[in-house]
Symmetry: C2
Subunit: 128 residues, 2 copies
Amino acid sequence: MGIVRKTKSLELVLNEFRCEKTAISAIELIKRLYSKLNKTTIYRILENLEDDGVLHSFLGQEGVRWYAMCHNCSKSKHNDLHPHFECVNCGKIDCLNLEVNIPNIPNRKVSSSQILIQGKCEECYDLK
Amino acid sequence: MGIVRKTKSLELVLNEFRCEKTAISAIELIKRLYSKLNKTTIYRILENLEDDGVLHSFLGQEGVRWYAMCHNCSKSKHNDLHPHFECVNCGKIDCLNLEVNIPNIPNRKVSSSQILIQGKCEECYDLK
DNA sequence: ATGTTATTGCAACTTTGTTGCAATAACAAA
DNA sequence: TTTGTTATTGCAACAAAGTTGCAATAACAT
């Protein structure tokens, strides 16, 4: 459906993404905004922001949904084919601004792909 | 923990994978074996078979877990880094026997990756 | 200032998966 | 074959993540 009205709830959710350059899981958002917003509201705002091309979502290793700011997306088209990187040490996930080449596959029509790369992020890599 | 005893339940689960070349979701297995096995038993057998390197698991688009036969895996090491292909038309998922090159990423240590490719499978592609 | 309707909060529900525990079944040893 | 040990199973209850229906509230166009 997309966002129609500018509400306080919407601002609270958007603010979390403004302060943060990495992705945020729905669960984490619910925890952060616990005292201010109901989880149903949060899920609905996330869905609307995704419809509008403001956020994109993907699944982390544990099967929970994460959200991150879009860069070149619009209401009509999501360009969120970049891979995501999940740190096995601190759990943080962020978007990787790089292209991974998906080869053609005989007799199949590829329409999209999701790539989750695991490893140690910058900070955790430096620690050891 | 891995499989220790050869039980009827184990045989029932393994049979499903013998008849099937594609992956099977835990949910689908529970439906198929509904009258014969408890879902708890099925989850436990799947876990044990994965520990043993007989099956590997991954998440499908909807966040549910799928299982497929391993080919070169053992108790000590899983080699399940191949991509999986999910048909957007019929919902089937199977393993792709191909390598996708994950580029090096500065300051990060990549340890593994999960790739889910979406599109139309052989059968659904031919239909149209 | 007012009327319309999008948004919110709440409670109840759904789906997928997990846990504890007593009963049962594999199977090694006698 | 019988017996004893313990892995496996089924059940019920739980848990986490997300969804739905509905009445109350808040945006905002007029």
